[in-house]
């Protein structure tokens, strides 16, 4: 346990000293701010008309300016932006050991490699959860500031659960990015993997097969693909969990068994 706690401390220190937390906070602020802006435009049709395309886009994405629509848009944005942002965190946490060429210094120490990998995953998950909580908290503050109608406690609880669920599915899906980053020995393969899965997720969501494709499922769950893409069932969630477990297990195996030549 001491090894894990110490490894967690070192990962937290590395995270604190980097600029990525600040960047993450900035991106997380943008999501509710943009969604709030949509609501503001929808609340004021004259303003929407004056700005043309943005107004049309706002109408398409949100429909009406009220709390259920607003939180629905936030959930959809979390599914897309979250996959990118949370993947970025995982890629950074694992990839910097390769880019800074520091991996070799943590391979032959009394703290086992599996504990170090576990600490890295813990940081990735905790960091992503905190950012999700930030999105949720800010969404309520901005929604209240825009003063949109149809607020109720049940709407808030339901939407909060939905956003948290979307974020949770997304966080589970970023775990394989850690493996790709390690196996590719750097950031780029991880970024490539993330972009490919994001595009694949969108394509499959549009074809109706999305409920079987892990990277489509958070978007479908959030409602980003509308009702035509299908509604994820229990099997969809099992697919997501299995994908995450496989990715995490592969990263564990890679760092504890593969040749480390960098």
């Amino acid at each position: 346990m001491k090894g894990f706690k110490n490894a967690l401390w070192t990962e937290a220190l590395k995270a604190r000293r980097s600029k990525l937390p600040l960047l993450g906070i900035l991106i997380c602020c943008i999501i509710p701010v943009v969604c709030g802006l949509f609501m503001l435009i929808l609340k004021n049709p004259d303003f929407a008309k004056n700005i043309g395309l943005i107004g049309a886009k706002a109408q398409l994405a949100a429909g009406s300016a009220d709390w259920p629509s607003y939180l629905g848009v936030v959930s959809q944005a979390t599914a897309i932006a979250g996959l990118l942002l949370f993947s970025l965190i995982a890629i950074w946490v694992f990839g910097r050991e390769y880019s800074d060429r520091t991996l070799k210094d943590i391979l032959a120490v009394p703290t086992s490699r599996s504990r170090i990998v576990a600490a890295k995953f813990t940081i990735v998950v905790v960091w992503s959860v905190l950012l999700s909580a930030l999105i949720l908290g800010l969404s309520f503050i901005i929604g209240a500031a825009v003063n949109i109608p149809k607020w109720s406690q049940s709407v808030a609880f339901s939407a909060a659960g939905h956003i948290a669920g979307t974020a949770g599915l997304t966080i589970v899906l970023i775990l394989p990015a850690a493996f790709v980053t390690c196996a590719g020995r750097g950031y780029l393969p991880g970024f490539g993997y993330t972009l490919i899965t994001l595009v694949a997720g969108m394509i499959f969501a549009a074809t109706g097969w999305g409920v079987y494709v892990p990277w489509s499922i958070p978007a479908l769950y959030s409602g980003a693909a509308g009702t035509e893409g299908g509604t994820p069932g229990v099997f969809s969630f099992i697919i997501v969990v299995l994908t995450g477990i496989t990715g995490a297990a592969a990263a564990f195996y890679w760092l504890t068994h593969a040749d480390q030549t960098r």
Partner: protein, 311 residues
């Protein structure tokens, strides 16, 4: 003397490339083992296998009697290491980088960081981010990471890299002191042959993955025998004259002829007379002590010739 490091026919192939070829060696407690080789000879691959970072494709590596593997983490509390160029987390300070290692090494003593910074003259850089460090200080930090836990075995890959002459002497004295006072065993690779000659108690020469030669430092003088260097206006003619009298001249740097036989070294006047009488008077006739570098290159070249002959 207890064996601290031993390899038995240790082999590593990356696809078709044989990086280390049936390497067998032993390093006893308290020894300073100098591991010499050209770039790509297999030094770093051997060191990575000794540290469990790379799995051998054949043979085995033992440290303190335990077979090394990627999950032999309990072994590493007794081992300090520096592999290739030292790198640190650039956004952390010197002190924080050492604190990271102190914690991963499960050390309870919080003063260990200050102590090792003091030992490696890094205290004045303690709060400086390591991306601003000079290469020499980065090297010091790498060595500080390797010795922070006072290991019984130090595995160092080119420990003098990037250090100025004063730094090289400092590291040499540090390693000697650790070996002498604490009985630390040192396994170090280096391309600075003079450093190895001054420091190592035993030397191994590796080339193309194979251990060509291994000898104690007290055998060094015997191996680095004097040679008689000869030059003449017509080197080829001089060579033929010497060969006709049963000598075996070899051509060394700049085309100069070299004789290694005791007879020639002890009687250079006879060689001079022979060449003069044959119409090839020497323009150079000098007995020179061979240095480790020359010996090393000869070993490596001889190995290359031997392989070419086999092909």
């Amino acid at each position: 003397m207890d064996t601290v490091v031993s390899t038995d026919r240790l082999t590593k192939a990356f696809g078709d490339v044989l990086a280390v070829d049936r390497l067998s060696l032993e390093v006893g407690a308290g020894e300073i083992y100098g591991f010499l080789g050209l770039n790509g000879a297999g030094k770093t691959t051997t060191i990575r296998m000794l540290l469990g970072m790379i799995r051998p494709t054949g043979g085995s590596a033992d440290v303190f009697g335990n077979t090394v593997g990627p999950n032999a983490h309990e072994l590493w509390s007794r081992v300090g290491y520096l592999v290739e160029m030292p790198y640190s987390y650039p956004q952390l300070t010197v002190k924080e980088n050492l604190e990271v290692i102190r914690r991963l090494r499960l050390m309870d003593d919080p003063n260990a960081v200050d102590r090792v910074m003091d030992l490696m003259a890094l205290t004045k850089y303690a709060d400086r981010r390591t991306r601003t460090l000079s290469q020499g200080n980065e090297q010091r930090l790498g060595i500080a990471r390797a010795i922070i836990h006072e290991p019984e075995l130090l595995i160092l890959d080119e420990p003098a890299n990037g250090l100025d002459p004063a730094g090289v002497v400092e590291i040499r004295e540090l390693l000697k002191r650790l070996s002498r006072e604490r009985g630390v065993t040192v396994f170090m690779s280096s391309h600075i042959l003079a450093e190895v000659a001054r420091l190592a108690t035993r030397i191994g020469i590796i080339h193309e993955g194979r251990l060509l030669e291994e000898f104690d430092s007290d055998q060094l003088d015997a191996r680095l025998r004097p040679r008689l260097h000869i030059d003449s206006r017509d080197r080829e003619a001089a060579r033929l004259v010497l060969e006709s009298k049963g000598f075996r001249p070899v051509t060394v740097g700049d085309g100069i002829l070299e004789l290694a036989s005791e007879d020639a070294i002890n009687n250079p006047d006879r060689i001079a007379r022979l060449l003069v009488e044959s119409g090839q008077p020497p323009t150079l006739l000098q007995v020179r002590q061979q240095d480790l570098e020359t010996h090393f290159l000869q070993m490596v070249n001889a190995s290359g010739d031997e392989q070419n002959e086999r092909v």
